[in-house]
């Protein structure tokens, strides 16, 4: 059981969190033409890195969506940061 730091709530048990995706996924502007390759990359291409990763997680109990930096090998958690610009 890991301990994840929610930027708002502080450290909580991993059961309170859901993985939301790798950081850096930007939704293509579908108001414009998006070619199939770009869309497929957005949908399916995952870096799935070994070692230091930056991911987006959702804290289920407070609904905070945030960035967490952790090591996918050692499970060390380095830091977490709100996605909000005006974060506390």
């Amino acid at each position: 059981m890991q301990i994840f730091p929610c930027p708002f709530c502080g450290p909580r048990n991993e059961t309170e969190f859901h993985f939301a995706g790798e950081l850096g996924k930007v939704r293509p502007d579908t108001g414009k033409e998006v070619n199939a390759r770009d869309w497929a990359t957005y949908l399916y291409a995952q870096r799935n890195e070994k070692g230091l990763v930056r991911e987006v997680w959702l804290h289920l109990t407070c609904s905070e969506l945030f960035v967490m930096e952790r090591d996918s090998l050692t499970m060390d958690v380095r830091a977490s940061k709100s996605l909000r610009g005006d974060a506390l």
Partner: protein, 931 residues
Amino acid sequence: MTSHRTDRAGLIDRTQPRNFTFDGKAYRGFEGDTLASALLANGVRVMGRSFKYHRPRGPWGAWVDDPNAIMTVTLDGRSFPNCPAATTPLVEDMQARAVNAWPSAAFDIKAGLDLFHRWLGAGFYYKTFMWPDWHLFEPMIRKMAGLGDISRDAPKNYTADQVHDHCEVLVIGGGAAGLACARAAAEAGRGVVLVDDHPIFGGGLHQSVQIEDRTPSEWIADQLAAIMGAGGRVLPTTTAFGVYDHGLVGLAEYGAFGTAPHLHRMRADRIVLATGALDRPVTFAGNDRPGVMAVDAACEYLARYGVLVGRRIALASNNSLADAAEAMLTQAGAKITRISPQDGAIRALGGKQLKGLAQGLRRHEVDTVLASGGLTPLVHLWRHAGGKLDWCAARQAFLPGAAPDGMVAIGAANGTFDLDQALSEARAIGAGNASDAAARTYSLTPLWPEPGDKGRQWIDFQHDVTLKDVELAARENYVSVEHLKRYTTLGMASDQGKTSNMAGLAAMAAIQDRPLPEVGTTTFRPPFVPVPFEMYHGHHGKQLWHPLKRLALEPQHRAAGAALGEYGGWLRPGWYGTGNRGDLIRREVLSARNAAGIFDASPLGKIEVMGPDAEDFVNFIYYNTIRTLKPGNIRYGFMLTEGGIVMDDGVIARLTENRFVISCSSGHVDSVREHLEAWRQDGNNPDRIFIHDLTQQWSTVTITGPKARDILAKLPLGLDLSAQAFPHMTVQETQREETPIRIARVSFTGDISYEISIRSSRASDLWDKVVAAGEPHGATPIGIEALSILRAEKGYIMVGKDTDGETMPHDLGITIPRLKKKPAYIGDRSLHSDKANLPDRKALVGLAVGDGDKVLPTGAHIVDGTLSRSLGYVTSSYDSPTLGHPVALGLLENGSARTGEIVSVWHMGETRQATVCAACFFDPEGERLHA
């Protein structure tokens, strides 16, 4: 047989005799004994039979390292399988039986298997039973395999308490090092928890005469008093069975025999491993014979239980600890013959009864062989935590190397085998200082299995793996240690190779002529010792196993005789009344079609989206255009995944300019809420959109059927219910006795329906009034089963039942947004992929069968003429009470173009015909819906 109990006091209470039986024979031991020590005291050595060859086995170890003596223990009519005799405390009236032996360990009928050992080597079962089919042999082999039998009855009052806990410093192991470290840490002001798996602390210290001018017991008591005096906690009979992420340690705290252990999920800022070391076996011919034991085990049996395991003892050790053992055993009355196993191959003589030990031409007439090939530090927990191991040539052992975060090893677990040095190391670490390395007195001559040696030499006692099996594995190229393990099952028994892994690795290294550290170790995984499944289970049983959400109206449903069942995480009425369930459901359908059905729709999602950007947000979330929805109106729509797959369907109501209510399906509320929250904060402005899940604030009573309006009119709500004033797909808000009421005219049946929502504490009052108002019209409560039929008649889908993981909205006939909707929405681009554009996509269809035909089975495949390929399948299928014939929905390749086509429907070897039709069997014009 004469007693092996000596004058040495040990830690047992000789004023408290304990009577017990083993394989039906009565014996007596004392309070403080284990089953193994009591049997050894009674001269019993054969305590079990090996797994594969049914060889007689006696204890090798005195604690968790013993792989051999495994028993089924019955106490007070309850039996517990696979109790290790060396760790099971003796209790009055215990009845123990050796596992894998019938009728008894001493005389085992299957022992004849041992004669066939030449053919039963590693891989025997894999190789032999491949042809013609493993499944022919499997039942017989399964019956022979395994250790112990599980009682058919779940023991009563056997529930593990599970608690979360935290400490600053967790010291694992209460021997000299652990005690000294815990004391130093506690006195330095740390919050300390000290655990040890023995009932009495001290580890191997009880073998000593004195420590720091005190007797071992005095010294141990001093340390414990000091630890507790400084606020520390001590937990005896507690096993640290696993280390998990971020400093979490699983602790199993055992109470009286037959009670479930307590699970402590201990989160420790710092973990000190003081788990000690094990004597490892010497690999020689007949080394599995009862009477061959670890040197340290003999000392422990003497020190803790006052049991001298033999009188004429051969001591075959390669290390410097043998001197102390010899002195101790000699003083207790044993005659010791020292053997240097490294001077030439040795072999045990005799069968069930050990007759002696031979080395070359020399024979030693002894009744017991004590062996030690050196100490192996217990580094299991270190490896669980991801710590590295370094090979130490001087000690011929893997020692803790690079440390995992927050963990440190001390004492014998760290290779510090000398007491004085271990104490100074423990105190330094406890006080938070680095430990200084002092000179070591421990020494040994390397001693490892030698391939090619004669005789059957056991590597893994519990799984019957011999040196020859390792050689065979090497010949067949299973040379990686992980392959070796799986091919021979070395280290895969319940002892997880505590005594066998090192010998196995060393044998493989020798066979391949590689240095031992290069061969490496297999992965150490929790649990360190077997723990009952109950410990993981705890309170998660019965109604708490998969707890359901409960309706505010459940008392009303129960009073009405509802059959309750799980639907989408809620306990809901399936139907009402007693009698034939099919008839009851049919009657409910007919009353809904002829008069009205009254339905508890409370679990339907009620997620409010509010704020200045609410409109843009829901327009982005939904496939359908929501922007154009006027306040007071309702629209049906889909939510899609970014892959374009239908994730949920339902209606959305716009109450005001900046307030929407999303009525997602009952089972999807939690996932839809998360979906909305994630999108709200990712790519939208979360300061202008707010989402309140009010699903449980409101309860909803639905009236559906031709009399719905008449029934609703009887409730004094002061609303104009005419079709003009309150048309289909609109919502009205009103109040009754200052309680807000919301009425949505939407339908999931195809008949005129009103969903009346009220705060949950007032729901029972509303329900009673609606039922009373409906009664004169012939309206009755209906359950989900009737509703499922009603909606299928009308061709209304249930997402996840009538759709699958590939279904897109245009497969369901909702095509306009895909073609026309301009602003971005979730999943939009995926609806125009090559796959989305394929003409033969599976689409929703109706399936009609001839009059008098049976209902098509749900899940049946629609197949092409040659039965070679599935074109789709039946998703919903019922005998329609309304129409008097079966109706079915299905997903079918190129379905919309196949209307009128006759298709084959295959199920369990039977093929039937059905006609593809529109997915709507009831009121296709919608006259009743809009009435």
